[in-house]
Amino acid sequence: MSALGVEVGGLALKNPVLTASGTFGYGLEYDDFFDVAELGGICTKGLSLEPRLGNPPVRVCETPSGMLNAIGLANVGVERFCVDKLPVLRARGVTVIANIFASSVEGFVAITERLEAEAGVHAVELNVSCPNVTHGGIEFGRDPKLAAQVTAAVRRATRRPVWVKMSPEAGDLAAVARACEDAGADALTAINTIRGMAIDPETRSVRLANRTGGFSGPALRPVALRIVWDLVSAVKIPVVAIGGIGTARDALEFLLAGASAVQVGTASFVDPLAAKKVVEGLARYCEAQGVSVRELIGGVRSP
């Protein structure tokens, strides 16, 4: 394994840098920019059983060092993903994590089964933590029992690694995490966005049509780092970190805190090459310091 290679719950990644679901499309929008197969992997936009149109606009707005989104999980549906997108990704050798979402346990299983029929999916990431839909988003991620049910059901439906994406809004996140671990999750990913809101004092109206939206970006990073740190000591399975990561320095914070890999999210909006630059920055850091990424994981010191 090279200095950058890591292993996440049985899945070997050429480097620890993935892209976060919903911030990298289906990975096919980057042809003009770079070869996404250079990344550790990509998490697809959240896939549902049927295509979804998403929420009415306005869907995004900026906040200090962050943003709010209320996309509402617009996506092409798992069928079109399998037919239109996956074959191209597979042909290019991209490591694909399918992020999936449903409003029932059966829905999660049905999507997983459809994906099981296709080659080229390397893991399934369960979004049990979307703040922007009325049914079946976040409640799964808040309740240890529900989270475990979804995890166990998907676990039975696939031979592939199952990752569960944590909601930062669970009251007792460690309990949810352990429930998922016990139910057979191979890794946890954290965090999804936290619900936020913005009002325009000029027009006195809410900025997003959905009123509230998911808060992401650099502003979120300190909270995400603390949650990842908490999770790392709560479970034995690997944790994949997400939240405001846009540079190699940011990625190092999370690796040192114990994350086995990271996902670049909002930063890709600022610069489509952000994830690639994180890989390059980590390579330079490891070279300069004479360490491998694996040696860095969990290596933070207390003062």
Binding site: E29, G54, C61, E62, G66, A74, T266, F269, D271, P272
Partner: protein, 277 residues
Amino acid sequence: MSSPPPKPAPPPRRAFTAPLLRRESIGESYHVLSFDLPKGLIAQAGQFVMVHGQEWGQAPLLPRPMSLLTSGTAPSLLIKVVGEGTRRLARANPGERFQLLGPLGRGWRPLSPGKRALLVAGGVGVAPLLYLARELVAQGRRPVVVYGGRSAQDLPLDDELARVAELHVTTEDGSRGRRGRVLVALEELLTSDVEVYTCGPERMMAAVAERCREAGVPCEVSLETPMACGYGVCLGCAFKTTEGGYAYACVEGPCVTAERVDFTQHAAVGKAQGVAP
């Protein structure tokens, strides 16, 4: 209404970093910024870039979508100050470095053979239309332009426009040209041999589109939805279509045929413009 010629494929997108070459301020609110880009940015009229200051750090976080005023080795933008990002652009000094991502989206559809172009601009919406006007002139097809603003101060680059087009100006306060909104000037120009291209405040474009529909004249609008990425991955730039679903302004637009846009539903208002219909 015969269907207009299809749009040519857009040129490849690139992430450039470039220093500011020049900033020319037109009053306090409007600024033309040009960048030093020896490699050159190849674009079509109506396309845009996402621009972000390398000095901005993490606030303003996101790049700002801006229509190209010109392309080439010194691509330029017309900026209207409405918030923090545009304020920073307006104060930038030559040498300051920017990231330019582009060209993005789909530009204006080509003018049909035998037709005349009627351009309807509101305030800062003039940028992609001036680009278009210059291109049409280069093809020997000098356009007619209606240019409206709240007052004489809200008509940046009107002199440039007058150089390449037959220019009709309206202002709401009557401080320049005809008093009133662009519709008053549009009426007599909306003949059956024209095709309309419009960019400006959403309510203006909606009103123009509605008049064109009534007159049976094709109308192309340039949408200014809020955008996070500009290249099709965030799904933030949705606009409601008359077909029922949503389309994404950064990849299917910003220039789209007015028939596709459900203006009654379209809340993704660009508030940045200075002119109401």
